[in-house]
């Protein structure tokens, strides 16, 4: 491919790399000469062999969960990130946002050098030394508290350095603001247990999960870790599985995995939790701790029968939940932002009590001491803003926070910034906040810098630079130290180190002492770098009820104002709070629930939509007391009728080409006034109005229901126990007489025999995959991993509207029920090329671009493809994707990898040019790579599990297993033999190599 591209191919990739590797950090980008040049390194870089990947361990900083990373580096460039298998948090898995961290590194809209604002308000480049001198000059002079430093959530050396640095200038004005700060949970933990921190939830130990709005598989706390544990325990295995009940007015992506969905009146979840606790205590269902008597009065007020009126949940349901909850190891969760209404702290506290009375605290809910670096609540930001407005702030430094976009405009942060005479941003991207600053001193990307991060107590993770910086940026830690050095005097006396790496190593030397390691520091350090950090098993705190526990005012629920609809502003599972909005992979990642991309939508119940005359795609005005925004309607049966939901993350006015001007910022609708627990209430009352405008939603879903076609199949645990695993399928499958079956088998054998010529002679593996739908949560991490591994182009919203997205692997989401009183249910199914044994696509290709490889893959030879698209017509699964435009041509408007984004292209995978068909081939480049390695080691066969496809590798819940179906002992063939196994559209006799294992729902008996 890429014949006529100038610079987007593998070879050029090697070429220019040589230059940068040699130290001349000029990214010549796409403008390379027409003559092919080979440029060797001047001096050989460490550990680098051209053509061979090097892996570095680091830490993901895309959200506060802090998963461990392995970064694949080729010729000095990071080309893929994967989870670190040794890491205690994610054990090798990663979510979509983590996978997309590369697009932060190579983002074309990064601030490429320090910028200074000129008199006319524009930014112009400035030399680093001048910039540092400018900061030093402003800070010099007498120490004062007028220096403020706003950071995101940091937990480690950088966190300490900022505090020390501020202290050196006589200030204690540090605010660590994390938009998803879980203020309600922290408040509740303080109130109920007297603990200032967050608990860790052990899903792998909980047979029963009762979530009150916690989207623990999308964004809540540490989703990858949760998915891993949840997949292990809730996934069906040998007749057992957990049960998960979700309580929330909206069925979130997480809730799609639930066995039962309870939708109480918005704002009343706390009452429900208390009434469940009431039943437990009343009926003595669990051996409750002795100090529960302190909260007895509170619990006694929440009799299910009386609460039912408030919550809309029948009393017998509550009683049943209480019985189920106490039947075995269980855990209850309270939502972060998902139920963060004004009474969210009550809900969280109620859930704490529920866990406590059921005896879960200390078992599935563990407090493990206080981690370093705690985000301040939103209310601190409010204080900072008022200080700024009041003129108390002389200089404001900002790192890793974008409060202008990430807070309700009512806060007035942007205006407050006007009152600050000197504002410095360390932003990597020109976001809304950086735009309002005087100096922008771009930080390194997390993959370019030294740092550490204490994900949770006991998990000390390291970040190391995996490559030369892409741009003329500097690590903020270094810049801070350079500023103090420049200022000199007492400030520099307090901070004597010269570089942030030294500072980091000092704190790690201290850590080495703490963990009692007596080896030389260099050994400890190297080993930690290789592993990705140092982990210790933390001790579990003993927890008792605090004195304030009983003071919880149970009736303080959030009430929906009359005549309004409840709006839920929830964090987007792809864009998080909006920080992912400049990553095209995440923008184009279909939302797991609505399958919409690139924009903001408002979820409305179909009946509500019908009442208001709103159809899908209609532009709707959403008005709250604060403001009005516009979004396109998506009719979603997974909502209460009195509730609408809008995701966060869009509506950027800055932040680069991929983020700007898309959708609306739902935070505009929210009240800036902090709630009782110090956070922003993400529930509010709104009214909807259809504007009369209409546009098709840029969504990847065709029809939301599977028309009884049995593509995503489900079986109940009860049916499985009765041996009915073969399940719901067979709309028209009449039994085939045995004789006919024999004849068909015989015929098939003859057919197979007639294919054994040339390369097909002899023994070959048959690569296959098993996808366990009882584990798949629809989180879509695999989708982004596939984009990253296979150089898949992003196409933009206009093309998505035309169904032209290229995602080789897509998560299909089908709705079931929800009508005529049936319970609503959503199923997900990863759909990728099924590598059919009798592939309909292959026969129709006139030029053998699609053909069957000896090892059972549907080979797709891009350079042979003429582009008749017949294969795609004939593919029942619709998993072939056509290059409608030249996504790899820099001169074209559809160019998908503007410089330097093309550095993330996998050099082992051809970048496809316009007019050719492309598709999943089970990561054939990985298979061939391992086969080559094995051959060099004189092995003829690959071991089971030696090849991991990109999707399998990243799957947080371990739903995907890949291997050789011809090997009866492989994991995949064992799974393929399971009773739950079925082939999608198997009746077409395509003989797929992908076996789906039916989703299992653990329904209540009776």
């Amino acid at each position: 491919m890429a014949e006529n591209s100038n610079g987007m191919n593998r070879r050029k990739f090697l070429t220019v790399l040589g230059v940068t590797g040699g130290g001349a950090a000029a990214l010549s980008g796409c403008s390379s000469d027409s003559v092919e040049k080979l440029i060797p390194y001047l001096v050989p870089p460490e550990n680098q062999v051209p053509g061979v990947a090097t892996w570095y361990a680091s830490t993901c900083r895309e959200c506060p969960a802090g998963c461990g990373l392995h970064v694949r580096v080729r010729e000095g460039r990071a080309v893929k990130v994967e989870g670190n298998p040794d890491h205690p948090v994610n054990a090798g898995r990663l979510c979509a946002r983590g996978q997309a961290s590369l697009q932060g590194l190579y983002n074309p809209d990064r601030v490429r050098q320090p910028l200074s604002r000129t008199a006319d308000g524009k930014f112009e480049p400035i030399a680093w030394e001048d910039a540092i001198a400018q900061v030093a000059e402003r800070l010099g002079g007498s120490p004062s508290d007028g220096v403020r430093f706003l950071t995101g959530h940091e937990a480690g050396s950088f966190d300490r350095l900022v505090d020390e640095w501020l202290a050196a200038f006589g200030s204690r004005g540090r605010v660590a603001f994390e938009p998803l700060g879980y203020e309600a949970l922290r408040h509740a933990n303080r109130t109920v247990f007297g603990i200032d921190g967050l608990a860790r939830h052990d899903f792998a130990a909980a047979d029963y999960v009762l979530s009150f709005g916690a989207d623990f598989l999308d964004t809540w706390l540490s989703p990858v870790e949760h998915a891993r544990g949840f997949g292990a325990r809730h996934g069906y295995r040998d007749g057992h599985m957990g049960r998960y009940v979700h309580v929330e007015p909206r069925l979130s992506m997480t809730a799609m995995s639930a066995d039962e969905w309870v939708a109480p009146r918005p704002g009343s979840e706390g009452l429900l939790a208390l009434s469940v606790a009431h039943v437990i205590v009343r009926d003595g269902l669990a051996s409750t701790p002795a100090d529960v008597h302190r909260v007895r009065p509170l619990l006694d007020r929440h009799v299910p029968e009386t609460v039912a009126a408030e919550t809309g949940v029948p009393a017998d349901t509550v009683a049943r939940l209480a019985r189920e909850f106490t039947a075995g190891p269980s855990v209850a969760l309270a939502g972060g932002m998902g139920i963060q209404h004004a009474a969210a702290h009550v809900t969280a506290a109620a859930v704490n009590l529920l866990n406590y009375v059921a005896g879960n605290v200390g078992r599935t809910v563990r407090f493990e001491g206080t981690p370093t670096g705690r985000p301040a609540p939103y209310s601190r930001l409010v204080e900072l803003t008022s200080d700024m407005k009041g003129g108390a702030v002389r200089a404001l430094f900002m790192h890793g926070a974008n409060p202008v976009h990430g807070t309700p405009p009512g806060l007035g942060f942007r205006d407050a910034m006007q009152a600050v005479p000197f504002k410095v941003s360390f932003a990597r991207f020109m976001d809304e906040t950086a735009q309002a600053c005087d100096l922008v001193l771009p930080d390194h990307d997390p993959l370019e810098q030294w740092n550490d991060f204490e994900t949770r107590p006991g998990v000390h993770a390291l970040q190391q630079p995996v490559m030369q910086p892409v741009f003329d940026t500097r690590a903020t830690g270094d810049v801070l130290l350079q500023v103090t050095a420049r200022v000199g005097g007492p400030a520099s006396a307090r901070l004597t180190v010269t570089s942030f790496k030294d500072y980091l190593q000092r704190s790690w030397a201290a850590l080495q002492a703490r963990v009692g390691d007596r080896r030389p520091f260099a050994t400890f350090w190297t080993e930690a770098l290789q592993r990705g950090g140092v982990w210790r098993e933390p001790s579990t705190q003993r927890v008792t009820l605090a004195a304030s526990a009983g003071s919880l005012e149970g009736s303080s629920t959030w009430r929906l104002p009359e005549g309004r609809l409840a709006l839920i502003a929830y964090p987007s599972s792809a864009l998080y709070d909006g920080r992912g909005a400049n990553r095209p992979w995440l923008q184009e990642l279909p939302d797991p629930v609505t399958k919409t991309t690139w924009t903001t939508w408002v979820e409305i119940h179909p009946e509500t939509g019908a009442e208001l005359g709103i159809a899908e795609g209609d532009v709707v005005e959403i008005a709250s007391d604060m403001a009005t925004i516009r979004a396109q309607a998506y009719l979603y049966p997974g909502l209460r009728r009195d509730t609408v939901a809008v995701p966060m993350g869009q509506g950027h006015t800055a932040f680069g080409r991929y983020a700007e001007g898309r959708g609306a910022n739902v935070l505009h609708l929210l009240d800036a006034e902090p709630t009782a627990f110090g956070g922003v209430a993400t529930y509010t009352g709104v009214t909807l109005r259809a504007t009369g405008e209409h546009a098709p939603l840029p969504k990847t879903e065709g029809k939301p229901r599977q028309m009884g076609r049995g593509i995503a199949q489900m079986v109940t645990l009860e049916e499985l126990a009765r041996g009915e695993g073969h399940g719901e399928h067979g709309a028209h499958a009449a039994p085939v007489p045995e004789r006919i079956e024999e004849i068909l088998d015989h015929w098939q054998e003859g057919q197979d025999e007639a294919t054994k010529y040339g390369a097909y002679e002899g023994e070959h593996p048959r690569w296959g995959m098993a996808v366990d739908l009882s584990r798949c949560t629809g989180c879509s991490a695999c989708v982004t991993a596939c984009y990253a591994e296979n150089n898949i182009a992003t196409v933009g919203p206009e093309s998505v509207r035309r169904g032209r997205e290229m995602s080789w692997l897509r998560i299909e989401r089908y709705f079931e029920g929800g009508e005529n009183g049936e319970p609503f249910e959503a199923r997900v199914l990863p759909m990728l090329c099924q590598q059919c044994g009798s592939a309909p696509c292959e026969t129709v290709c006139p030029v053998f671009a699609a053909y069957h490889t000896p090892d059972g893959l549907n080979g797709q030879i891009y350079n042979r493809c003429v582009g008749t698209r017949y294969c795609s017509n004939n593919c029942p699964y619709k998993v072939r994707y056509f290059n409608w435009f030249d996504y790899q041509e820099p001169a074209d408007p559809t160019f998908a990898w503007p410089e330097p984004l093309h550095w993330l292209l996998n050099p082992d995978v051809t970048v496809r040019s316009k007019g050719v068909m492309e598709k999943c081939t089970f990561c054939v480049q990985r298979i061939r790579d391992k086969q080559n390695q094995a051959k060099l080691e004189d092995r003829d066969r690959l071991a089971d599990g030696e090849v991991l496809t990109a999707c399998q590798q990243t799957c947080p819940s371990d739903a995907i297993v890949f291997g050789d179906l011809n090997d009866p002992n492989s994991r995949v063939s064992a799974l393929a033999r399971e009773t739950r196994g079925y082939h999608a559209l198997g009746e077409l006799n395509t003989r797929p190599a992908v076996t789906y294992l039916k989703k299992v729902r653990n329904l209540v008996e009776g």
Binding site: K703, A731, Y814, V866, N873, K878, K914, G915, V916
Partner: protein, 449 residues
């Protein structure tokens, strides 16, 4: 045997008149002709520009919406291939059946066939993603040592359509040779040179006729099964696939009937103005039109029957996919296309049961336009509507063509008419020889007649 004009037995033309009248059609073109030709060339230029635009930026400029991977281009391809069928039917099959009324219309039909195939042949090339590699579909020896996949119906298409083009062109040329010799004798200047060369030295000697008549017979005998096979092969592009709405055994006869149906309609569309402009009403009479109308009615009834059978099979197969696909055709997003098709092809032609209609040339002309439209929609429905509603509900989509496709579609008509206009003014559009042939040569003694 039917003769050329029953009602004007008295004024049956002489050989001389025939030569004179038909040669007269090759006279100096009027201004109207040039205006028309100019218009056609402008439209063709627009289509060509659209194609260049598409080549530059990729097929995305067309309206393709996966899973609808084939749209207007393949629809139009099948449409033109279909048009191409009546020519060979009239010239070869009716020749074998010794049906005399074909003689005055077959040349036009045959020329139409050749130009329609030339037009149709463009579309597979236009629609592929990398048209600069379209030649890879031919099994030519290459350094890669790679051949083509003969199991692909597209390869069958390559062979069928190129064979069809070759054979029908040969057939046209062979039929033209004696006529060109006749025209040669009346022509002057460069035209005479042209006809001298193209008539290949034809003089009508006894030896020439001896071989000619045999060769023509065998060509007709070969062309007759070819005509049936070509549209069968085109239909297998669809029938061999697993797409619900495509995978049906009825497709070959259904497509062949449809092809002849649309081809005959196109012949009527072309003959009505041609007859008027060229003043050959004497040779192309109402009776000819009535015969064409009967053919239209027959094939129209077959097509209508096939529509009904498709629905019946979808229901009778019990396959939920087939049933859903056909339900979607009638009542889904594209209901309008389906009902246009049924109205134009299945319902309107029923008025041909009335002799009055069959004999009314204006009525036939209007009806033929409807049938042309309806047959284009038939292919649109089969291709687009089936693709938009296949197996995976999640991957269903809705396709609307873009301006590029409309421009190229218009360009294809321009391309077709350009060739037809050039042909009509340079070659006899009514066969001089064959028209004469059905008039007995004058005898001195009145034979027993």
């Amino acid at each position: 045997m039917a003769t050329i004009a029953r009602e004007d037995q008295i004024t049956r033309p002489t050989y001389q008149e025939i030569t004179r009248d038909i040669t007269a059609t090759l006279g100096r073109p009027s201004r109207g002709y040039y205006v028309l030709l100019g218009f056609v060339l402008v439209v063709l230029a627009i289509g060509a520009a659209a194609l260049l635009y598409q080549i530059r930026f990729g097929l995305g400029v067309a309206g393709y919406t996966p899973p609808v991977m084939w749209g207007v281009y393949i629809t139009t391809f099948v449409f033109w291939v279909g048009i191409a069928h009546s020519g060979t039917l009239i010239s070869a099959i009716l020749y074998l059946f010794r049906s005399a009324w074909r003689t005055s219309v077959y040349r036009t039909a045959e020329a139409m066939t050749v130009f329609a195939v030339m037009t149709a042949g463009l579309f597979p090339v236009i629609h592929v993603g990398r048209l600069w590699y379209a030649y890879w579909l031919f099994p030519y020896p290459n350094q890669r040592q790679l051949w083509v996949n003969f199991k692909s119906p597209l390869l069958w298409d390559v062979f069928a359509v190129s064979t069809y083009f070759t054979v029908s062109t040969l057939f046209l040329i062979v039929g033209l040779v004696p006529d060109l010799a006749a025209v040669r004798e009346k022509a002057t200047g460069w035209r005479r040179k042209l006809y001298e060369i193209t008539s290949l030295g034809w003089r009508g000697t006894d030896q020439q006729w001896r071989h000619y008549t045999r060769a023509y017979l065998y060509l007709a005998a070969l062309a007759a099964p070819l005509v049936l096979s070509v549209h069968s092969v085109v239909s297998w592009d669809f029938a061999m696939s697993i797409v619900p709405g495509w995978h049906a055994t009825i497709f070959a006869p259904y497509f062949v009937a449809g092809a002849i149906y649309s081809g005959v309609a196109m012949v009527v569309t072309l003959l009505v103005p041609l007859r008027k402009v060229f003043r050959v009403q004497r040779y192309i009479t109402v009776e000819h039109f009535e015969n064409l109308a009967k053919l239209l009615l027959l094939t129209g009834l077959i097509v209508g029957y096939a529509y009904a059978v498709e629905y019946f099979m979808a229901w009778y197969s019990g396959s939920p996919y087939e049933r859903a696909a056909f339900w979607n055709r009638a009542f889904g997003d594209y209901w309008w296309a389906t009902w246009t098709m049924i109205l134009c092809n299945g319902v309107l032609p029923l008025i041909l049961f009335f002799r009055k209609v069959r004999q009314s040339i204006p009525a036939l002309f209007v009806l033929s336009l409807f049938v042309n439209l309806g047959m284009w929609f038939e292919r649109f429905v089969i291709i687009v509507v089936s693709l938009s509603f296949e197996y995976e509900p999640y991957a269903m989509g809705h396709y609307t063509p873009s301006w590029v496709e409309w421009a190229i579609l218009a360009g294809s008509f321009a391309w077709f008419f350009m060739w037809f206009l050039l042909f009509a003014k340079n070659f006899p559009t009514v066969s001089i020889t064959e028209v004469k042939e059905i008039i007995p040569m004058p005898r001195k003694q009145r034979a027993h007649s």
